[in-house]
């Protein structure tokens, strides 16, 4: 079931991991039109009984992930992705500056290096597919369409922020863009991701009486896979047949701990799915085209069969875990090795090599983006701090004691009108 989407290039550098990183498929990839166990799995729980005897315990056939596509999206899509990735990079460069200038407080975890993951996965999904992630969340929000102005204002703790300055860097929410956070506790978003999938499936099938139409994308770091919540979420997603894809953004380190130091089976994380009868795949997360080629059929399969999947998305964060991290646990050579795989450079090269863009086109794009983010910083600076009355607003939906209600209904109306698009 191990599918290598992309080349075997990922063998080096290795984060100092165990040498089990060979990416050759251990079994031949399956045919996604006939996923092995998908049709055998029960639709409802009431058809399931315990085994008749000890001898009745047997090997279940494995659910196999669909093959990656060979096709490449049209140049306009690629240009959009290049723009999205450059926008995220520039946003992060300016957020780091803002943090150093004390315009942003708290913790700041930047996404540099991992842009292809959010952009490729979200590019392969539909806009109505919910997205949830952990605290390294700026990239996902921007890829989902969040205006960089409101993202920057959130970092600055201003009223113009996506959460009116109440969430901060780790809690980016954008309900209109189906972006459900931004969650600060490692692994806590994984059951939420299962719940988003539960809800979309329930809405489609129970309330509207149709077929499942949505897939939830639940991103997590490699550090989250040792949390109980992750395993509980995978188990629930499998037994309840929830259309959710858990994307492990495997950047090699949970904070400063190399994955292999804290995680058994670190060289083959996708195998965590085996125990949950879930299909899984490993993807080169440093190349946005490869990400899309593998994620597109996987998302389609999960949508069609209303089933979960697990992805080991191999990537690297170019910066530290957070702004206070001096990265002493890894070598410069390792960093330089991965920096040569920069997903922005790789896509830019592809576009120039195929003649879709010239170096000047890309330079001009960069200039436009720098202007856009500079404007976002200026807009965020000009946005006022939240009024003190906001302190007791949005705690409860109703008004009692010191609490002054919420702006939720306004958002809910907007969301209702947005539903079903995309």
């Amino acid at each position: 079931m191990a599918i290598l989407a992309g080349s075997a290039r990922l063998k080096e550098p290795t984060f100092g991991r165990q040498e089990t990183m060979t990416m050759a498929p251990s079994t031949p990839p399956g045919d996604h039109s006939t996923p092995a166990a998908a049709d055998a799995a029960p639709d409802t729980q009431d058809t399931v009984h315990g085994p008749a005897s000890a001898a009745a315990y047997g090997q279940q056939p494995r659910v196999v992930a669909p093959r990656p596509l060979n096709s490449t999206p049209p140049p306009d899509t690629l240009k959009q992705w290049l723009r999205d990735m450059m926008l995220i990079r520039e946003f992060e460069i300016r957020s780091m500056q803002a943090y150093q200038n004390k315009l942003a407080g708290g913790f700041l975890h930047v996404y540099n290096g991992q842009e292809a993951v959010a952009v490729g996965c979200i590019g392969a999904a539909k806009h109505k597919d919910p997205v949830v992630t952990a605290y390294r969340d700026h990239g996902h929000a921007l890829a989902r369409g969040m205006d960089p102005k409101v993202g920057m204002a959130e970092l600055f703790g201003r009223i113009g922020g996506c959460a009116k300055g109440k969430g901060g860097s780790m809690h980016f929410f954008d309900a209109n863009n189906q972006m459900y956070g931004g969650h600060g506790i490692v692994g806590a978003q994984t059951p939420l991701g299962a719940g988003l999938a539960f809800a979309t499936k329930y809405e489609d099938e129970v309330i509207n009486g149709g077929d499942n139409t949505r897939v939830s994308l639940c991103f997590l770091g490699d550090g989250a896979i040792n949390q109980g919540a992750f395993h509980e979420a995978l188990n629930l997603a499998s037994v309840l047949s929830l259309p959710v894809i858990f994307v492990i953004e495997n950047n090699g380190y949970s904070m400063g701990t190399a994955t292999a130091r804290g995680t058994a089976g670190a060289g083959h994380l996708e195998d965590k799915a085996i125990g949950y009868d879930m299909c899984s795949t490993t993807i080169d997360g440093m190349d946005v085209i490869t990400v899309w080629q593998a994620m597109k059929p996987l998302i389609d399969w999960c949508r069609e069969h209303s089933k979960p999947a697990l992805v080991d998305m191999q990537c690297y964060r170019f910066k530290g875990h957070s702004m206070s991290d001096p990265r002493k646990y890894r070598s410069h050579d390792e960093e330089h090795g991965w920096e040569s795989e920069d997903p922005i450079g790789r896509l830019a090269n592809h576009l120039t090599e195929t003649g879709a863009m010239t170096a000047d086109d890309i330079k001009a794009m960069g200039k436009t983006i720098r202007g856009e983010i500079r404007a976002a910083v200026d807009w965020a600076k000009a946005s006022p701090e939240p009024g003190i009355e906001e302190l007791h607003h949005d705690v409860y939906t109703d008004t009692w004691g010191p609490y002054t209600g919420t702006s939720l209904p306004e958002f809910m109306q907007r969301r209702a009108s947005d539903r079903g698009n995309g």
């Binding site: 009431d46 806590a188 719940g195």
Partner: protein
């Protein structure tokens, strides 16, 4: 039409009424469907609503609580049954860190209309791990509401309100009261969250309690009446919001107050009520507020020790006598 039914039936009626009314409402938890509920609260619901809306979960509180919260973020209205609130401790992160904070952290973009319900307090010789009273732990968290019905009528009306509420509501029931019978109207009705009720009018001392110990307070009031102390018993019904006004109005009349709270005393619902009564009724009090709690020990197994630990009738009588000695 009013008929006499058990506490558990009243809870089920509230859930079933809500599920007939609103397709967004569903029930999930351990053994709620095929087994008909570990305590038969959800008996028959699978048959009526089917397995898509009455959902058996694995023993995975953190997982299914978090999953239900995710579903609520998207607009569904889950009811999550914890077989016991004691088991909710392994779901502390989702129920305390996600549900009550979602609205705030998202700046009002996403609500979390969800009900968590289950047995709270000593069930009868279950030992300390299964005898949690979570009210004082959880009531500390902003963003959630907490109800604690003491009889079938309140159970139906409060739970009905909880399911309609747009905020996370924790409903604390008691294994020891599930078979308690009481008059309950057949038709649906709501009891507002945050409103206490005077169970027994009196003139000499206010006893404030919540949930099962309300019954002990009522027994104590009868004993004390025979001694010439006429107690007014207030059933708080909700812990959050706390109905300070009803409590304060009573204390202004009686000038004495005893709080009976089945959780442990340190940083507790009881200490909160006492602090509020002191703040609101400082000039009306003829003695400081007295408190009756679980003894500050892990719940013991032995029957006699467990009974001694609980805020029982004898301890309430002693507290009222001590409080009103100068009357």
């Amino acid at each position: 039409m009013v008929r006499e039914i058990e506490f558990r039936d009243a809870l089920r009626e509230a859930m079933s009424d809500a599920m007939r009314d609103d397709k967004r409402v569903f029930l999930c938890g351990e053994e709620v469907a095929q087994y008909n509920g570990a305590y038969k609260v959800s008996r028959g619901m699978l048959e009526e609503f089917g397995p898509r809306r009455v959902i058996d979960t694995p023993i995975s509180e953190s997982g299914f609580a978090g999953m239900a919260i995710g579903a609520a973020m998207l607009g569904l209205r889950p009811i999550v049954e914890f077989m016991s609130w004691s088991f909710s401790l392994v779901a502390a992160d989702p129920i305390l860190n996600n549900a009550p904070k979602m609205l705030y952290m998202s700046g009002g973009q996403l609500g979390c209309p969800i009900v968590f319900r289950g047995n709270d307090g000593a069930g009868g010789q279950l030992g300390s791990t299964h005898s949690w009273c979570v009210e004082s732990l959880y009531a500390n968290v902003p963003g959630l509401k907490m109800i604690i019905p003491s009889n079938p009528y309140d159970a139906k009306g409060l739970l009905s309100s909880a399911i309609k509420d747009d905020n996370p509501v924790f409903c604390l029931e008691s294994e020891r009261m599930l078979a308690l019978k009481g008059d309950v109207p057949e038709e649906a009705y709501d009891i507002p969250i945050g409103k206490a009720v005077v169970r027994r009018p009196g003139t000499d001392c206010t006893i404030v309690s919540f949930g099962r110990p309300v019954h002990f307070a009522m027994e104590a009031a009868e004993t004390l009446a025979a001694e010439g102390i006429d107690c007014e018993v207030i059933d708080g019904r909700s812990i959050k919001p706390l109905d300070r006004e009803t409590i304060a109005a009573s204390v202004r009349k009686t000038n004495y107050c005893v709080v009976v709270d089945q959780s442990w005393s340190f940083s507790s619902v009881g200490s909160e009520v006492a602090a509020e009564v002191h703040r609101l009724c400082f000039d009306d009090l003829d003695n400081h507020v007295h408190r009756v709690h679980n003894d500050d020990v892990p719940a013991p197994y032995a029957w006699n020790l467990e009974q001694e630990m609980l805020p029982n009738t004898r301890k309430i009588c002693e507290a009222v006598r001590a409080c009103t000695y100068n009357a």
